[in-house]
């Protein structure tokens, strides 16, 4: 059995960096506020959400049909279509194509699926140089860290962190932490890599069954450079990315960037249909547990996700603890419901890394019942006997106490007595998480029940 990641311990490490925590909270919440403003400008928002949700549900309930239709239309456009059951097969397909073209150097844009598959280390071990071209992803690659956010991968870092990193890795002035100078330095560093790359790789935000093409949304235009300069373009596409028709894109494109950053659209919304003049185009359709999830009545709706990150930006736990605390490819509320599907044992603590406040569900543009699914994953973890010792004992005692009123009343009395009389070291210690970062409340003179009996039960 895999050792579980411990999000609480990892988040504590991030929270201890006070400036990091407060800056992260401010920036991520800022994206949520920008989202709210953008949404306020679209009074038909709820209608769009309903349509987006139903288009995705329709596609997923007819997914075999749309996959075959996509393959047929794409092949007609001279796109090479590959299929991969899992991460290993995806990486092998990609490597075979690269190897057949004698690719030594690869420039890639951000793809959560390629992260999920561990593609970069796989290719590097086989002698291919892989460069991330999205600024945030490149920062994470140079830091040897996974992305901490699916839209802004290095949002947990301060400008001074980036300055120190670039000074070490690409020779910039360590004292210059002006974001403009740092971004310019990376532009200068990346340009020669785009020009010498033998192949470009992208993910896809949407794949259109009817037209046989796919859409990539970026703000930097890095995917477009990778697709238009090297002669070979390979795109990795999760099978849940399908939508039926070209005109369905109107709905999703209007919602994606408004939900993510609060802009009406990403700077680049790029559509690829067959190879460009003088180029070659391959797509890899990847399952990697998606078909299993499709068969789960409780969890298949998570496949509707369009990766906007709105649920992360609104989540009080994500904002404070940072994305790396999840120790997984996907972080935030969407990560909490996706990651256990890949490895339940490893990610068994994630469903408890949530306050169940439900804000994620409210902001989700495709109406995924995220908070309900978090709760349902808790039940799965418990049913599989994977609850941690402390939770098992605590939950069981709590269950018994709440089920027996006399037991509850005496527990109340004991609790009050304890809060008033126990020495601090017994209340504020590592065994009592409620005593961390907060003072326990002052004890009222009487319990509500005592007050009620005294005041309302009197004849």
């Amino acid at each position: 059995m895999t050792r579980p990641v411990d999000p609480e311990r990892r988040a504590a490490g991030f929270i201890a960096l006070e400036l990091h925590e407060s800056t992260h909270d401010r920036l991520v919440w800022g994206m949520r506020q920008n989202r709210d403003k953008a949404v306020a400008g679209v009074p038909e928002w709820e209608e769009l959400r309903e349509m987006a949700s139903r288009i995705k549900e329709h596609t997923l309930t007819h997914l075999d049909h749309y996959l075959e239709q996509f393959e047929k239309s794409a092949t007609k456009l001279r796109t090479h279509v590959h299929w991969a059951r899992d991460a290993e097969e995806h990486n092998a397909v990609v490597y075979d194509v690269l190897n057949a073209h004698r690719v030594k150097s690869l420039i890639k844009s951000k793809s959560m699926l390629q992260e999920e598959c561990g593609m970069t280390p796989y290719l590097q071990q086989r002698g291919i140089e892989v460069t991330e071209s999205d600024l945030g992803e490149r920062i994470q690659q140079l830091s040897d860290e996974p992305p901490s956010h699916i839209v802004v991968p290095a949002i947990h870092k301060l400008r001074t962190d980036v300055a120190a990193l670039f000074a070490e890795k690409i020779g910039t002035d360590p004292k210059d932490s002006d974001p403009h100078a740092l971004a310019e330095a990376m532009r200068q560093n990346a340009r020669p890599r785009f020009l010498k790359a033998d192949a470009g790789m992208t993910g896809a935000n949407f794949a259109v069954a009817e037209t046989g093409g796919f859409v990539v949304c970026t703000n930097e235009g890095n995917a477009d450079i990778g697709a238009s300069v090297p002669p070979l373009h390979i795109a990795s596409i999760g099978i849940e990315k399908l939508i039926p028709r070209g005109r369905d894109l109107g709905i999703f494109i209007r919602m994606l960037s408004r939900s993510a950053l609060g802009t009406p659209i990403t700077q680049y919304t790029s559509h690829f249909h067959g190879p460009r003049r003088g180029g070659e185009l391959h797509v890899v359709l990847v399952d990697n547990t998606r078909s299993d999830r499709l068969g789960s009545p409780d969890f298949w709706h998570a496949l509707k996700c369009i990766r906007c990150g709105a649920c992360m930006n609104t989540c009080p736990v994500y904002r404070r603890g940072g994305g790396l605390s999840y120790g997984a490819t996907y972080s935030g509320p969407i990560g909490v419901i996706l990651d256990p599907g890949f490895d339940l044992s490893k990610y068994r603590e994630l469903p408890f890394h949530s306050s169940l406040c439900g804000s994620c569900t409210d902001v989700c543009p495709v109406k995924i019942d995220i908070s309900d699914q978090i709760y349902k994953w808790r039940r799965v973890v418990a049913a599989k006997g994977l609850l941690s010792f402390a939770k098992r004992v605590g939950m069981s005692a709590l269950g018994k106490t709440l089920a027996h009123p006399p037991l509850y009343h005496s527990a109340e009395a004991v609790g009050e007595w304890a809060l008033e009389h126990l020495p601090r070291f017994l209340l504020y210690n590592p065994l009592n998480p409620w005593g961390k970062h907060r003072e326990l409340p002052a004890v009222p003179r009487q319990t509500f029940r005592q007050w009620y009996i005294e005041n309302r039960r009197k004849p």
Partner: protein
Amino acid sequence: MSPREAILSAVRKNLPRPAVPLPEVPGSERKGIKHGLGYKEHLTRLPEVPGAPDVNEPLLPYFRRQLEAMGGRSFEVADAAAARAKVAELFPDANVVCSAVSEVPGTRRIQDVRDPHELNDVDVGVVRSPLGVAEAGAVWLTQAELVVNALGVLSQHLVVLLDPAAVVETMHDAYERIDLASSPYGVFLAGPSATGDIEGVIIHGAQGARSLTVLLLAPAARKDPR
């Protein structure tokens, strides 16, 4: 079993039930939308949305405001000569102006470019867009206009000619007008390349063009019916 067959059969076995019908999506007929669409048709309910158009305001000023909000800029130019003068005025130090349009010939014709790598030295790229989208402040470009797709992203600065009559209201209208499969590449470009990856500070010119300038000019054929 091949991976393809294995995936399709796993998907078939696990298809969620009941099947959900495909909803209509709004096009020019606004299907599925009860009370109109976009800012314009909701003005009474949107008193405080900054940048929302006035009632009866034509689409163009709205498009220009949205483009500006995305970091782009636009100018009205009277004719081809004025367009050439504007490019010269905005980019006085440009050495290489690579053009895909007849109105502004530049120093290099995109039709003479064989390989996208040749575009690395381009200071200003010039291209015409067939379609603008007001709500997004975006212009549509395909391989038909760009000729070499990299012109749009390797040029340090990009100038786009746009017929002011070719602006539509929403993305729904835009997707209704374009034929996606007819071009290997098509991009809605809303402003220049941008990033917010370092502490959320918005910086233009992350990897693609550092600036986007839209010159509002009808194609010569329409202005001159000869």
